[in-house]
Symmetry: C2
DNA sequence: TAAATACATTTACGTCTGTAAACGATTGAT
DNA sequence: ATCAATCGTTTACAGACGTAAATGTATTTA
């Protein structure tokens, strides 16, 4: 995914923390249940993916290094918490996706998803209202 | 981005070709102007990014290897063409993004972009119509 | 207190990616 | 025909990622 700038045959992280594919799965669990132990995270993910506990611990470690997570010792184990807000991460990742794949054009992206047909009637209604608000503002 | 499954300490490509961040930039140019030479691609990208020609050639090479591009010799140089349709790539990448970041929920994603406020009045109108169609279908 | 258990930390390894220089082949010009 | 310019191919390298085993450390149990 995005977020790294490279020079001189090497790559460095950009200012914004970038959460990898697999790491997003971990973050979803953490945002939902924080503060949470590695155990609980592993248990929660066990229903969704097929990773060994060691793998998830590696991710936790990397997320801490990236300053996306922080932890608090609690006896033997850690309690993990997010250091970045879910909404902010969504925003950044969405913007990066929009730029990368849709060249920054929000309308085609929206059209794409609206036409994908995954929306329920209620969702459509909600969006209609949101669109009205968006229209009124300008 | 997504698309690789790993086993045994190694990673292998999944069935779907995955286009990296930087590669998307190249692909946008190609979809717009194909068939197109490396020269033209490099020239077009020169206005947008700060990569050396060599870098872009590497990407072209990798995209060919990934079977995202094909080429046709034309004397000394190649004419590059996409082997995958833009719309199909958008679809796949969008789906993967939706799953990864929004847990597969299209409505929150759409709400997010509608509220981002980047839409013009005309775009809002267009989307309103699309929503009506989407609603009528179900 | 010693052994077993449960955690976290370190090490590992192959692939992908960003970035580009070096090298080889082909073509155009003199 | 040879030299220079052009274009594609190979090689390079460091960081990120997916995946996980091995190792070290602290806690619980016998």
């Amino acid at each position: 995914m995005s977020g790294n700038a490279c020079v001189n045959g090497g790559c460095v992280l950009s200012n914004k923390p970038n959460i990898s594919d697999a790491e997003w799965q971990v973050m979803h669990v953490i945002w939902e249940r924080q503060p949470v132990t590695a155990q609980a995270i592993i248990a929660a993910l066990d229903e969704q993916v097929d990773w060994s506990g060691a793998t998830i611990k590696t991710m936790l470690h990397r997320l801490v290094k990236k300053k996306v997570l922080r932890y608090q010792r609690e006896g033997n184990r850690y309690l993990y918490r997010a250091r970045v807000e879910r909404s902010e991460s969504l925003r950044q990742e969405s913007q990066s996706f929009l730029d990368r794949v849709f060249g920054g054009e929000a309308a085609p992206l929206l059209a794409h998803f609206v036409q994908s047909g995954d929306l329920t009637e209620a969702e459509i209604e909600t969006l209609r209202k949101l669109l009205e608000q968006a229209g009124g503002d300008s």
